[in-house]
Every structure is written in structure tokens, then in C-alpha cells.
């Protein structure tokens, strides 16, 4: 186990270092959450008049939602890094060394979670600065961040598995788009649950994105039930383990095709 942790850490360092060299990428990474936050909260300002939001201020409602949205987008797209590594022969080079396949997967999952954590912190900081309230205080903020990081980690497992199965950028882009938008609309990220049609509410129960939204919104709004927060975070943790397992399996499947 220490070996697995060490190897994952070395691989995570590599990704972090390479990404930080991409100045434009870093700039967009920091600015993008701000764009989400401002555009959506402005667009939907008056929607709370419909009722069911648990607050009059859409910003309070949307802040945990946008942390989740940003996080699961980051996770869904993270497999692109694996496609690039496959193309450039980097994965193959590592496969002929003692590095564990699971270390390659864990480092990617951890990278997606770290990225979501950084972006989530920026979102929360800006949200608070422009007048949002988090009812659960500091612990509530941390819970929102953890929900986002688990969402990113969980979806990155799927994304890396798909990368290893398809191995093509164009297919990855199509798959990420195909998955991301429907899952967003089948959750309560943008609007209050009671406003969703019945069938959508029913489907959203099985949507991990919505688990994240529930875990993140509960501590953001008044009347927090911490048991609900803990349950959904637990569910997300299970989801993350499952998808990381899927990605590790995809690695073995990929190697069988070599």
C-alpha cells in the first residue's frame, strides 16, 4: 500500500507540474467558475419567485449547485489526459515498468478531485464576496467542497475508463457531451426539485450528480440535516470507488488488446 500511495503521488506530481506549465489552461481554470457563477445567477435571479427553493436569494441556492456542476464537468473531461498519454506512448512506457495500473488510475482521479477542490474554493470565495450565504458556516462550506471533489473523482473514473476503451479524442468529446448535459438537467443543480416534472425527479434519484447536489445544498441552506449530508457523501464515496474500479478494469482490458 505505501508503494501504491507513493507511485500515485509521483504520477499526480507529474500531471500537476505539466498542467501548471500550460498558462492559458491555468488562467481559464480560474476564470471559468466565475463565468458560470455570474451568468447563471444573473439569468435566474427572479426564478425563486416560483417557490420551493428554500431561500429568496437564488445565489444562495445556486452556489452549491455551481460547485457541483463545475466539479462533474472537470471529472467528465479529465480522461482527455489519458487519451493524450496513450497517443504519445507514455502509458505504454509506464506499463513496462513496475508501476501499478491502479496508481495510474488513482493519480488521475486525485488530480480531477484536486482541480475541483481548487475551483470550488474559488467559487465559494467569490460567491461569499458577492453576497451569498452558507447557512452551515465553515463546516457547510467544507461539505460543499467535499461533495464537489467526490463528484469530480467519481466522474473522472468513468472518463478514464472510456478513454482507455475508445482511445480517441473525438469519441471522448462526443461521449463527455453526451453524458454531461443530460445528467446536469436531470439534477436539481439549476432549479428547485419541486419544480422538476415527476419523472425527472424520479430519475434524478439515480443520478450521482444529484447526490452531489443534495450533499452540497443541504448545508448551504437553512435547516441543515447533517445526516442527509453524510449519507449522500457516503453514497458519492461508494460511487467513486466503483468508477475507480471500473477504470482499473479498463486498464487491464486495454492491455489485453495490445
Amino acid at each position: 500500500m505505501p508503494e501504491l500511495a507513493a507511485q500515485s503521488w509521483f504520477m499526480l506530481q507529474r500531471q500537476g507540474r505539466n498542467l501548471l506549465r500550460e498558462r492559458v489552461w491555468v488562467a481559464l481554470l480560474l476564470i471559468q467558475p466565475l463565468v458560470w457563477l455570474v451568468l447563471y445567477s444573473q439569468l435566474f435571479t427572479r426564478i425563486t419567485e416560483l417557490g420551493g427553493f428554500g431561500t429568496d436569494d437564488y445565489l444562495d441556492f445556486f452556489l452549491p449547485g455551481v460547485v457541483c456542476m463545475n466539479a462533474f464537468f472537470a471529472g467528465s473531461w479529465s480522461g482527455m489526459a489519458t487519451v493524450t498519454d496513450l497517443d504519445r506512448g507514455v502509458i505504454e512506457r509506464f506499463l513496462a515498468t513496475p508501476v501499478r495500473r491502479s496508481a495510474l488510475v488513482f493519480s488521475q482521479v486525485a488530480r480531477a478531485a484536486t482541480q475541483a477542490g481548487i475551483q470550488g474554493s474559488i467559487l465559494i470565495a467569490i460567491g461569499l464576496a458577492i453576497g451569498a450565504d452558507i447557512a452551515g458556516g465553515v463546516i457547510g462550506g467544507v461539505a460543499i467542497l467535499v461533495a464537489g471533489m467526490l463528484l469530480a473523482a467519481g466522474f473522472s473514473g468513468i472518463s478514464h475508463a472510456l478513454a482507455l476503451i475508445f482511445r480517441r479524442e473525438a469519441t471522448m468529446i462526443a461521449a463527455a457531451n453526451f453524458i454531461a448535459l443530460p445528467l446536469m438537467f436531470l439534477s436539481a443543480i439549476l432549479i428547485a426539485r419541486p419544480l422538476m416534472p415527476g419523472w425527472m425527479q424520479a430519475v434524478s434519484r439515480f443520478n450521482p450528480v444529484d447526490w452531489g447536489v443534495r450533499a452540497a445544498r443541504e448545508p448551504a441552506l437553512p435547516g441543515t440535516d447533517w445526516l442527509v449530508v453524510a449519507s449522500y457523501l457516503g453514497l458519492l464515496a461508494g460511487f467513486t470507488l466503483l468508477t475507480a474500479g471500473f477504470a482499473t478494469w479498463a486498464f487491464r482490458a486495454y492491455q489485453r488488446t495490445l
Partner: protein
């Protein structure tokens, strides 16, 4: 195939026995067998598509064979892949360097993956950077490296952990002639200095001739012959005649020449007719007369001792360069 008896103390670094591998309709390996002794610089020579890379990928545990068995550094590649991976360095045909990282970062990560840490790692990285002439570029991102530098870094990556066996899959393909010569010098020195078994695959006859102690010629998924380059050439009796034809009538030329009793075998590649004859001096007038009679004009004639081209022709019945181009198109 019979293997020479080995010194009882010497353990073979690589053993491949009857390796088979199929991809869809393509039988990439149809029973590859050979042995590489400890400390030997061994070449797998063959045209494109002969199965050299697939053989290497089986030996470095990237691919499982459909049939046959193989051991590297005393470990079975299918049953003990972990142990094999700790004992080998692998330089793939396509570069595997991380282009967004510096040369030093690439080497450091590779060393860490192999369990090197701290000062030992830093010193080994510095040493390799200097040996491969990369010290000045060590802290630059690889994207800006020349093809030759990138390839030398690839080889250095395979050596970080001082492996027992190094696999070099076409290390000079795609390099310009100057970078190729630099790489050959590096590899020659490497073979001398480090006590290392090297398996090199190549489709350059000259490269196999110059670098390897012993080689196996691979064609269509099989080893057709194994030995030192000298032995293989010596085993061919006679001389090699190379005729440059003035026009492209290769088939007519081939038919005219093979009808002669003095010609042991012949093959045509474009405008070059290669033939092996018992006695060059005596056979050339006959060849020229036969070509003239067939109405095939001749540009020039050269006579030489048999080369590895002739060895390939003799053992496969094909021209090496034609097979190489056919393999590239396939």
C-alpha cells in the same frame, strides 16, 4: 531449431520458444524461437511487419502470447510479469517521453517508478544526462528537443534503474543519418561499458551488421536463421552481383538470369537486380550476355562479398527492400 550448447554457468538472458500471436486475420508471430546469452548484444533483423515489435512487446510483458513461452532474466513473462518489469528497460518504437516535462523530470519520474530515491536517483539522472549529451538541455521541456535528442532521452529512460536486459525497438528509425551515427556510437559504448544484455530490433541491415554480436533474421512471424553476421555471410558460398538496369524491365531480367547455371539465386527490387553466383569473375560475362540477349540494357554492375541482403534473400527467397516496403504499406 538446435541451440548451441551453453556454458553451464551462463544463464540465457532471453529465451523465446514458439511464440505465436494473432491479431484478427494477421498472424503476427507464427512460432518465434531464439535465445540471447547473458551480456550479448543481439539483433532481431527483419523487414517492416515481420513481427519484431510484437516479439519485443511479448518479451517486455505488454502483450501476452497466444502460444509458446518466453523468459527474460530468468523470469517467465506470462507468470511473473512483475519480476520481468523490474529487470528490464524498454525503449519502444514510438517515443514514450513526456513531451510536456523536462528531460530531468522524465528521468527522475522513471527512476522513482523503479524505486530509486534521493541522492542515488539524482546522481544517476545526472550521469545519464551527461552520458547521452543532454546535460545542457536537462531542464528544458522535451517538446523543444530535436528528434535525436528525444530518442537519446528514450534510451536513457530505459537505463535509469540499471536493468539487466535492455530492449531497443527500432531505436534509429526516423532519425536523420547524422543522429543515427551519434546513436550508434552511444549504443556501442553502452554495450561495452555497462554489463548489459541488449535486444535490438531493426530493419537496417547496416545497423544489425555494425552493432550486434549475434542476430536472428525474422520474416513473416518466424526466425529464419540465427548466428553472427559474419557466420551468416560466410555460410553463403560465392559472390553477390548487383546489376543496375537501365529501364524497369525487372521481370525479363530476372527470367534471363535465373536460367543461367552459374546463378544460385536472384531477386529484383525496382531497377536493381541482385544475384548470388558461385564465382563472380566467371559469372559476370555470362549474366551480361544473357541480359543483352533478352534485350535488357544495363547501366552498371558491381561485384561484392555477400551482405546481409543476400543472407535474407537466401533464407526467405525474397528481396529485403521489397519486403520492407510491402510491410510498410500493409
Amino acid at each position: 531449431m538446435e541451440y548451441p550448447a551453453l556454458d553451464s554457468l551462463a544463464v540465457d538472458a532471453i529465451v523465446a520458444e514458439g511464440l505465436e500471436k494473432r491479431y484478427g486475420d494477421v498472424q503476427a508471430l507464427a512460432g518465434v524461437s531464439f535465445r540471447v546469452r547473458d551480456g550479448e548484444f543481439f539483433g532481431l533483423l527483419g523487414p517492416n511487419g515481420a513481427g519484431k515489435s510484437t516479439t519485443t512487446r511479448v518479451l517486455v510483458t505488454l502483450t501476452r502470447p497466444d502460444a509458446g513461452r518466453a523468459a527474460v532474466a530468468g523470469h517467465d513473462v506470462v507468470r511473473e510479469p512483475e519480476r520481468v518489469r523490474r529487470s528490464i528497460g524498454y525503449v519502444a518504437q514510438a517515443s514514450g517521453v513526456d513531451r510536456e516535462a523536462t528531460g530531468r523530470e522524465n528521468l527522475t519520474l522513471q527512476g522513482r517508478v523503479h524505486g530509486l530515491r534521493g541522492r542515488a536517483l539524482r546522481e544517476r539522472v545526472d550521469e545519464l544526462l551527461s552520458v547521452f549529451g543532454l546535460s545542457a538541455a536537462a531542464d528544458r521541456v522535451v517538446r523543444g528537443y530535436s528528434g535525436g535528442m528525444k530518442r537519446r532521452l528514450d534510451v536513457a529512460l530505459g537505463l535509469v534503474h540499471r536493468p539487466q536486459v535492455l530492449f531497443l525497438d527500432e531505436p534509429t528509425t526516423g532519425l536523420d543519418p547524422e543522429a543515427r551515427t551519434v546513436m550508434w556510437d552511444e549504443l556501442e559504448r553502452l554495450a561495452k561499458v555497462e554489463r548489459l544484455t541488449i535486444l535490438l530490433t531493426t530493419h537496417y541491415l547496416e545497423e544489425a551488421d555494425r552493432l550486434t554480436d549475434r542476430l536472428a533474421i525474422v520474416s513473416r512471424g518466424r526466425v529464419v536463421v540465427e548466428g553472427t553476421a559474419e557466420e551468416l555471410k560466410r555460410d553463403l558460398r560465392g559472390d553477390a552481383v548487383s546489376v543496375e538496369l537501365a529501364d524497369g524491365r525487372g521481370e525479363a531480367a530476372h527470367a534471363a538470369v535465373t536460367a543461367l547455371g552459374s546463378v544460385l539465386e536472384a531477386a529484383v527490387d525496382g531497377r536493381i537486380l541482385r544475384a548470388r553466383v558461385v564465382n563472380g569473375g566467371a559469372a559476370v560475362p555470362g549474366i551480361l550476355a544473357a541480359l543483352e540477349a533478352a534485350g535488357v540494357p544495363v547501366e552498371s554492375v558491381t561485384l561484392a562479398r555477400p551482405s546481409l541482403d543476400d543472407v535474407y534473400l537466401h533464407h526467405t527467397g525474397h528481396d529485403f527492400r521489397s519486403d520492407d516496403e510491402a510491410g510498410l504499406r500493409a
